[in-house]
């Protein structure tokens, strides 16, 4: 159908209505023309019959009474009817009785008939009067049916053209009403498709089916827009996820690549998926030699059989863990040599599935260092033991002659009694004092050497009470007083070391005071972060110049001559060693003009790990 080839509904409608109009008009015109021509002929026949009847009736007397003149005159009146071309009257015997017109007349009348010959209609009709046939009338009419037909066709053509024109105008107007909304809809649809713009809307101009269509179309646009938006968003998210996943993977590869340890990633089947440069280095393989191979090639022969089972159990419970806890692990290089390793296992969810990423650290150096350390420790222990023995032997063996000398000196004093010259007596006293100092020095040296190597009893220490007792034992001059800080704790701690530290500090404060009166303050402060107490011993003595703050903690260091100040010079060295042995620090604050503040920290809670060497 040609209509199908027309792309626009507007022209389809136009063509359709035009076609229908043309067909309708053609059919109507044909019927009309046919009817008209039949009617024309019928009218003509009727006219001719009537005319013949009338002439017959009029001329019956003329026939009857043989008045040809009258008949001729009567027929001559037909000149008033130009359409009648000729007429004739025949008498009862068939003789021509009268005639009109120039036409060639039949010699004899025919049967009663009416017929069309060319453009003429002729008629023979009997003239009957009083049931008697008087004659026949013959009429010839100018039956211009062809001209009539032409005129009629022309009129029909004009009417059809006009009708088509009016119909076209009407259809044009009508199609606007009908097709305009449809075309508008189509235009919006086209723009939507071209621009992919689902925010466009068709305008609803009618409330008919097209209006309903427009509503449905707009609703559909909303839904499509939303779906598209969701789809695009989803695509963007997906692309973003893909990109970030790729970035993540690349970053992961970079991280793995730059890791200081060897990294080997293995899939469920035990095939190597990824290695880094460290792995290449420590195993001596090129990357291409490792990828896709069974990871068991990196194990010593003796471990290879059991490893797949271990891997399966790891994949059954994929959590980060160290491999072979408590066991010595060894890996195998390409050249067959083995080396100790530490391996951390991490499950990694990759696109290809679950993998295990192994971080392998070559601990050959560490093992060697540990071995060396163990040897050193052993050596140190032996050396300590020797020192211990030496100290004990030394103090014991040295103290025996000292005690002998002291004894001899006292015997000399006793023997000489009053005969002893004062200078000798003074020298003897000085000698005995130095012997005593020597003995104390030996005792202190022994104690010092035993710090950290003697097991001390753990007990509860009421710091306030202990400080008070120790202050009394320090035999301070009567003008001295002790001020205790608030909230001094009760500690559970090795008792003896703590008391040694406090005693030494108190004794130090009293002993080095340059006045007859003095105040010694003892306070404590809790350091929650380090789980320690920070104890302070403040005196108002002469102080220690800053340049000596470090030296005072060295052995045998005194700021005054030994004879002037009784002491071994071991006190603060001893304090420092004990405090440090329990993980603490000791320091001094003093301007060297007046007063000194010693601070040391001490574990607030006691457990086996509070100190490193306390139990040895």
């Amino acid at each position: 159908m040609p209509l199908r080839r027309i792309r626009s509904i507007r022209y389809k409608l136009f063509a359709g209505v035009g076609l229908i109009s043309v067909v309708g008009l053609l059919v109507a015109s044909t019927l009309l023309v046919t009817y008209e021509m039949r009617s024309y002929r019928s009218d003509w026949e009727s006219d001719l019959q009537t005319q013949a009847r009338l002439l017959g009736h009029t001329n019956a007397p003329a026939l009857l009474f043989h008045d040809e003149k009258y008949a001729t005159e009567n027929l001559a009146t037909l000149r008033l009817k130009p359409l009648i071309l000729a007429a004739a009257i025949y008498d009862a015997q068939g003789q021509l009785f009268a005639h009109y017109g120039d036409a060639v007349l039949p010699e004899r009348p025919g049967l009663e008939v009416i017929q069309v010959i060319g453009q003429q209609m002729e008629l023979f009709k009997p003239i009957v009067e009083n049931n008697e046939r008087l004659g026949t009338i013959y009429l010839v009419g100018n039956y211009e049916w062809l001209g009539r037909l032409k005129n009629y066709l022309l009129i029909v053509l004009l009417i059809c053209s006009f009708a088509l024109l009016v119909s076209a105008v009407l259809v044009w107007g009508l199609q606007k009403t009908i097709t305009q909304p449809v075309l508008g809809l189509a235009e919006v649809a086209r723009r939507v498709m071209e621009q992919r713009n689902f925010d466009l809307r068709a305008e609803k101009t009618t409330a008919d089916e097209v209006g309903y269509l427009v509503d449905a179309f707009n609703d559909m646009l909303v839904e499509v827009g939303q779906s598209t938006q969701a789809l695009e968003q989803s695509n963007r998210d997906l692309a973003l996820a893909l990109t970030s996943r790729q970035q993540l993977q690349q970053r992961f590869q970079r991280v793995v690549e730059s890791a200081p340890s060897a990294m080997v990633m293995v899939n469920r089947e035990g095939l190597i998926e990824m290695v880094n440069v460290q792995a290449e280095r420590i195993f001596g393989y090129a990357r291409a030699e490792l990828l896709g191979k069974k990871m068991e090639i990196l194990l010593p022969q003796r471990y290879r059989a059991e490893h797949p089972g271990l891997r399966t159990s790891f994949f059954a419970d994929p959590t980060p863990r160290s491999m072979g806890a408590g066991r010595d692990l060894f890996a195998r290089r390409k050249d067959g040599s083995e080396f100790p390793v530490e391996i951390g296992l991490n499950p990694i969810e990759m696109e290809e599935g679950l993998m295990v990423l192994s971080a392998i650290v070559d601990i050959s150096e560490r093992v060697r260092a540990a071995n060396r350390l163990a040897e050193h420790a052993k050596e140190l222990e032996r050396s300590n033991k020797d020192l211990d023995t030496f100290a004990y032997v030394a103090s014991h063996d040295l103290k025996s002659p000292l005690r002998g000398i002291n004894q001899l000196a006292s015997w000399i004093t006793e023997d000489m009694q009053d005969n002893l010259p004062p200078s000798v007596d003074k020298h003897l006293q000085l000698m005995r004092s130095r012997i005593t100092r020597m003995e104390r020095l030996l005792d202190d040296l022994l104690s010092y050497s035993r710090v950290g190597r003697v097991e001390n009893k753990i007990g509860k220490v009421n710091v306030a009470d202990t400080v008070r007792d120790l202050f009394a034992l320090a035999t301070p001059p009567p003008g001295f007083k002790l001020v205790l800080g608030d909230d001094l704790p009760v500690l559970t701690t090795p008792v003896a070391p703590f008391e040694q530290v406090v005693r030494n500090l108190l004794a130090n404060a009293v002993k080095h005071h340059d006045k007859h009166e003095g105040t010694i303050e003892f306070s404590a402060q809790y350091d929650g972060e380090g789980a320690r107490y920070l104890f302070s011993v403040r005196d108002d003595g002469p102080g220690i110049p800053p340049e000596f703050h470090q030296r005072v903690f060295n052995m045998f260091q005194t700021l005054k001559p030994r004879d002037e100040m009784e002491g071994s010079g071991m006190g603060l060295a001893f304090v420092k060693k004990v405090v440090e042995n329990y993980g603490g620090v000791v320091n001094i604050e003093s301007d060297g003009v007046r007063g000194a503040l010693f601070r040391f920290s001490w574990p607030a809670q006691w457990d086996d790990h509070s100190t490193k060497g306390a139990v040895k």
Binding site: T58, A60, P61, A62, L64, F65, H66, D67, E129
Partner: protein
């Protein structure tokens, strides 16, 4: 001899239509034409309604029994009718009454004719006269011979006196149609 005989036969055969035509011509005489006209006049004349009480009331044509037209008239009207009415030819004797006569034919030159015409005065009778007489003696219709052909005159005044109405078609074919004399 023989050939001459055949020629004679052919000539005779050829002459037959001519002879027949001649015989016919002989039959169509002025009298017979007049008889025919007399009979046909009934078609174009209107009588007063009481003249024909019934549809089948016969039309009576009265003629003096001695008139030469009688044989032709009887022959022509034998099976005829006028507007469905049978035709009766009434042969009149001198002194007969004209009751029931519708058409009266007389030769106006005769005495008996003049008497009959006088008797018909005022009656609804179509008087048809013949003969060369003055106009005042003519009937409503009067036969004349013109160019050897039988024609008739129509005298409307006479017809009116007879209470008759002559048909227009009849008047039109009449030689003249004066309003009266």
């Amino acid at each position: 001899m023989k050939r001459g005989k055949w020629i004679c036969v052919v000539i005779l055969i050829g002459l037959i239509p001519m002879l027949a035509s001649l015989a016919h011509a002989q039959q169509v005489t002025a009298t017979s034409v007049k008889a025919t006209y007399l009979y046909k006049f009934g078609l174009y004349v209107e009588w007063p309604s009481e003249t024909f009480p019934q549809a089948r009331t016969p039309l009576v044509i009265g003629v003096p029994e001695t008139d030469s037209i009688v044989p032709d008239l009887l022959a022509i009207t034998a099976d005829g009718n006028i507007k469905g009415r049978p035709i009766i030819v009434k042969l009149l004797k001198p002194g007969d009454r004209l009751n029931g006569v519708h058409i009266l034919y007389i030769d106006a030159l005769t005495e008996s004719g003049r008497t009959l015409l006088g008797a018909a005065q005022g009656l609804p009778i179509l008087t048809v006269t013949d003969g060369d007489v003055p106009d005042w003696r003519k009937g409503a219709l009067h036969f004349v011979i013109e160019n050897g052909r039988v024609r008739f005159e129509a005298w409307l005044a006479v017809a009116a006196r007879q209470r008759l109405q002559l048909g227009t078609q009849l008047i039109k074919v009449a030689l003249n149609a004066p309003g009266g004399s």
